[in-house]
Every structure is written in C-alpha cells, then in structure tokens.
C-alpha cells in the first residue's frame, strides 16, 4: 500500500464529504432508503475505494482484486456513491437509486451492477459469503483479501455467529470485518433493543483479533487495516465507532434516521452543512 501522507488523508476526507453530499441527493431523489448508516460509513468507504482496495474500476471482474462485501446492504447508497466517485460508473447514475430499471437496486444486487461482489440485504448473509470467498482465496493460494462491512444491529443475527465460529476455527486471516458501531438500529439504541456488549470480548472469544478505531478517523482506520493484513493467525474485526448520520447535525446520533430520508427542505439544510463543512467555511 502507498504511504498515507497527510495530503492523502485530506483527499480521502474530501472524497468522504462528496460522498455524503451524493447520499443526501440520492435519498432525496429516491424518496426512501437509509440515511444514518449510509452517512456514517462515508469515511470508511472513501478509505476503501481511494486507498485500501487493490482494484480496477475499469476492470471490475479482475480475478486478483480485493473483495469488498457490504453485508449491511441497506446502506448501499454509500457504496454506490463511492463506486461512482472511484470511476465504476457515471456519477449522474446515482440519482436512479431505487427507481424502476436502475442498476442501483434498493439493496445491492450482483447481477445488476458490475463491481458488486454479491447480493446482500438479508442481514448476516454477506459476512458468511465473505468468509466463503476468503476460504476460496486460501484454497487457490491467492493473495487478494476479503473485506466485509457489517452493521452493529446486524450482529443480532444467528448466521453472523455461525460465520464467526467458522472463520475463527479456520483462522481466515485474509478476512477482515468492519463493524459500523453507530449504536442504533431501527427500533432504537442497540443496547436497548438487544444488548451487544461486550462486542470486543465476544469476537475475541471466537478467535478473532479485534481492533477498535474511530470510524471517522481515516488514519486510524487505515492503520487498523494494515494491522489486520499483518495478522497471520486469525481473522480481524475492526470495530469502527461512528456517529450515526455523521456530517448532518440534525441526523446525528438519532435512530429515527436509520430508515428515514430527508424531505426537500431537510436535504437543502443537510447539503448546506456538508458544503460549508459544518460552518467551518463560509461559501458552499
């Protein structure tokens, strides 16, 4: 991986901000979808598409590419926006999200859009498929890596723990899972709906390495991925502590925005905030 200079970090942060603007515009145009998680994973997805992944947007089927699976399929606006900005497809297409005939289905579908590794949405299945891919890479002696982004509410699913058992038992060190720890799910705070803590201890007891980072700190996150790559005896879970709805003040920390989208006035307010970096700069 190339050195992560301060200039590069800044460029990734800017990309993340652009992705957030895209997300607001996409959700406004779609009229339905998931705002909070999409916004709070913008930094992680920018880091993936603009620094971490070994990939080629012009050749999405390249056999030796790294695989990035979005197990929490409902936050696909962040993935679509990152992909478009990375050059997988035209940025204008983002506004077709969730519309009839669009390649950008409401939950990501492999057969619709090149560059999607799989179909995801039914929670917990993406991480299991990611584990299968990682196992296949090892069988073939390939060095490409498998990354999987999951939600924290998704941890409730039984199949997740089946997969943790499997990946831990087979020491799938080429598999790295990122948990979007934004502490919300549809019905409320995760610790009220179905407590998960201590998530770290749970993963560790399944023979996983766990690294906790600030999910909006590009450098911390990239360094955690580097540590995961250097770990040879276990899969790694990066718990990315995030602020649900990050970047849009009236959405931040609110579970009500998990599955809601902004109306035109709210979208305008959100875009203004993103374009002025929360009031840090005057002009949009």
């Amino acid at each position: 991986m190339l050195d992560l200079t301060d200039k590069k970090v800044l460029a990734i942060e800017e990309a993340a901000n652009t992705i957030r603007e895209d997300i607001i515009q996409m959700l406004l145009a779609a009229g339905s979808g998931h705002s909070a998680g999409s916004l709070d994973m913008a930094d992680v997805f920018a880091a993936f598409y603009f620094h971490i992944l070994n990939h080629d947007p012009k050749n999405p089927d390249w056999a030796d590419r790294d695989r990035l699976i979005l197990s929490a399929g409902h936050i696909c606006p962040v993935r679509y926006a990152a992909m478009a900005r990375a050059g997988y497809f035209p940025v204008e297409e983002l506004l077709t999200l969730r519309k009839f005939g669009s390649r950008l289905q409401g939950h990501p579908e492999r057969m619709h859009l090149p560059g999607l590794e799989t179909t995801s949405g039914p929670l917990g299945e993406g991480v299991a498929q990611a584990a299968g891919m990682a196992y296949a890479a090892r069988l073939d002696g390939k060095s490409w890596r498998t990354y999987c982004v999951m939600g924290d509410g998704e941890q409730d699913c039984g199949i997740v723990w089946e997969t943790l058992l499997f990946a831990g038992a087979y020491k799938l060190s080429n598999l790295t899972v990122i948990i979007d720890r934004n502490n919300i799910q549809i019905d409320g705070p995760t610790e009220k709906v179905m407590p998960l803590e201590s998530l770290k201890a749970k993963y560790e007891s399944f023979n996983w390495r766990v690294i906790e980072v600030g999910g909006h700190n590009i450098r911390q996150f990239v360094e955690a991925v580097e540590e995961a790559k250097a770990t040879e005896d276990r899969p790694t879970c990066i718990i990315a502590h995030t602020i649900a709805g990050k970047g849009v003040d009236f959405m931040e920390y609110k579970f009500e925005w998990h599955g809601a989208v902004p109306n035109p006035e709210q979208a305008e307010k959100a875009l203004k905030e993103l374009r002025t970096l929360g009031g840090k700069i005057e002009s949009e």
Binding site: R67, E109, R110, M111, E117, T118, T119, S120, G121, P122, G124, E125, A128, Q129, A130, A131, G132, M133, A134, Y135, A136, A137, L139, D140, G158, I159, E162, T163, L165, F166, A169, Y170
Partner: protein, 321 residues
C-alpha cells in the same frame, strides 16, 4: 411408444439414493478440481465421506449450522469454486431457505444436497421428515430441482449438476430402495423418461416412488388398464413436452411423490396442464399432514403412497375422463 425405456422392477438390488450421490461426487471431484464439498456434521450419512477420503483438502467440515453453510458456499462459488453442500433436507434447504434464495439471486453456482427427505426417513419422526422441500425450492427462480428415482440416477444427477453453471437442489432419501436404472440408462436434467407405456392414464412420478408407480402399472395391466409411467426426475425446469404429451395421449394423469401435495411435483404438473391441456388429475402424496415415527413402508402406506394408493388413484382418475 418406441422410446419407452425398460427399468428393472425386480427389486433385487436395493440401495439408498444418497449412496449414488456419494459416488457421483467423487466422479465430479475428479472431473473438476474446483469442486469442493461442505457438510454440516453429517459426513457419513450424506455419503460425503467418500469425497472427504479422496480429496481431504477440498472437504470443509462445517459443524451444525445450515444458514452459514449455504452462504459460505455461495461465497466459495462467487470466487470460482463449485461447492456441494450437504445436510438433511429438513435443515438445508429447510432451515436455510433465505440463504438459498439470496444465493440464487446472485446466480451462485452452488449444489444443495438434501438427504433424508420424505416420511421414509422412518423412526426419526416428523421433525426430520422433509416433505415440503420441493415446494420451497421450486418457487425460487433459476434453481434446478432434481429428485432421483434410484441410486444410479442420483450418481448421474450429481455428475451432471457439477457441469451446470448455476444453483441446483438434489433431493435424496435415507432408505434403501430398488435400483431400477442401469449404468447405460440415459440421464439428462429436464428430460423426463417414459418407462412404461399405455393410453388409459399417465402416472407421473419422481423419486423412489417411481418403483411403486411401476408396480401399480403392472397390477393395473392385469385388470386390462394400461398406463404410461413417466420418470419425472427434474421438478424444475420440468420437461413440459413429455408431460403435455402424456396428458394428450392418456387423457388423465396421476402424480406420485413422497412430498406434500401442496406445492410439490404434482402441483407443478397441474400448473403446466392447466395452461396447456387440462385433464382430470389425482395426486398421490402427503395430504396436508405431518409425518411420525414408524417403519418406512408402514409410513408410506399410512400416508397414502403405497402401490394400492396409486392403483386407486388411477381408477378414480379414469372414471373422471
């Protein structure tokens, strides 16, 4: 009909269909180095043990979890492998239906092997007797569904399934049943076979109950009733041409399957005939009930899937012509 195949109804050789799968998987493994096998703690009883012995590096022990079994297999498939995954049909696809559906949505090249299907599982009882599996698989787009009639056909179906690019479900049975086909009997997915000919009624069967169907045809022949018997091993995509021809030539159809009548092979035949050539139909299968413990044959008789039940259904359908 000149292309009627002659199946052996002596009942001399008896083997479970899962045995043929075990042999077929080893052949598939030799044919294609990308074939891998995953099993949910039932390596001996699903006969994956043969593959494990031959290709230990390509066998993956999964423990008892059928949901991840399917999705992990889908991941392997999307990375170029040809995974065969096995459990009891009650648990996969029974417990893993959502995962199967999503894998099919991705057109993942997985081969689902559901063993111990039907009430003939016997003493284990209703919890382990999958009699709904064909209904829940045949409604999933792109998923091929096969219920082989004997061990040799199961072997061939396994070898062919490995060659198909796309998801396949093969339904197998625990108990020994008569081997009716031979190494030389042709087999192609979605190509049903006429194995006994007549014009009074058609008996369309899948799975080992093809034997009971042929025995019924023999009995009926003694009474002067001539039946066409079709080995309809592929439930989806079904051989519509052979099914429609049977209905046109005989004017009455009886379907025979070790499965709930609701949603099973007979329902699929009815869907085809209702649109093409509606004829009177009778359904031999489980009538909206759960199974129970017992010996395989007494259960088949109790739930109405014995030779006498097929005979009765044929006579009833002929009356309605």
């Amino acid at each position: 009909m000149s292309d009627t195949l002659k199946f052996d109804i002596s009942g001399k050789t008896q083997l479970p269909t899962r045995m043929g799968f075990g042999d077929g998987l080893v052949i598939a493994g030799k044919n294609d180095p990308n074939v891998v096998a995953l099993c949910a703690d039932l390596t001996e009883s699903t006969r994956m043990i043969l593959f494990k012995k031959e290709f230990p590096d390509r066998f993956i022990q999964m423990g008892i979890y059928e949901q991840a079994l399917v999705s992990i297999s889908a991941g392997l498939a999307l990375a170029g492998k040809v995974p065969f995954l096995s459990s009891y049909a009650m648990f996969s696809p029974g417990r893993s239906w959502d995962q199967v559906r999503t894998a099919c949505l991705s057109k993942a090249n997985i081969k689902i092997i559901g063993s111990h299907a039907g009430v003939s599982v016997g003493p284990d009882g209703a919890t382990h007797q999958a009699i709904e599996d064909m209904a829940i698989t045949r409604c999933i787009p792109d998923l091929i569904v096969i219920n082989p009639c004997d061990s040799i056909e199961a072997r061939k179906a396994t070898v062919e399934a490995a060659k198909v690019v796309g998801p396949v479900y093969i339904r197998l049975a625990r108990e020994k049943t008569p081997v009716m086909t031979s190494d030389d009997t042709p087999f192609a997915i979605s190509k049903a076979q006429v194995v006994h000919d007549g014009k009074d009624a058609a008996i369309i069967a899948c799975g080992p109950l093809l034997y009971q169907s042929l025995m019924a045809a023999e009995e009926l022949a003694k009474e002067g009733i001539e039946c066409r018997v079709v080995n309809n091993h592929t439930i989806k995509p079904m051989d519509e041409k052979t099914i429609i021809a049977a209905a046109k030539d005989c004017g009455a159809v009886v379907t025979v399957e070790e499965h709930q009548i609701a949603g099973g092979m007979g329902s699929a035949v009815a869907e085809i005939l209702a649109q093409n050539d509606p004829v009177p139909m009778e359904f031999v299968g489980v009538h909206d009930q759960f199974g129970q413990s017992g010996q395989p044959n007494e259960l088949l008789e109790f739930y109405g899937m014995g030779v006498k039940d097929v005979v009765k259904a044929v006579k009833a359908v002929i009356k309605r012509k």
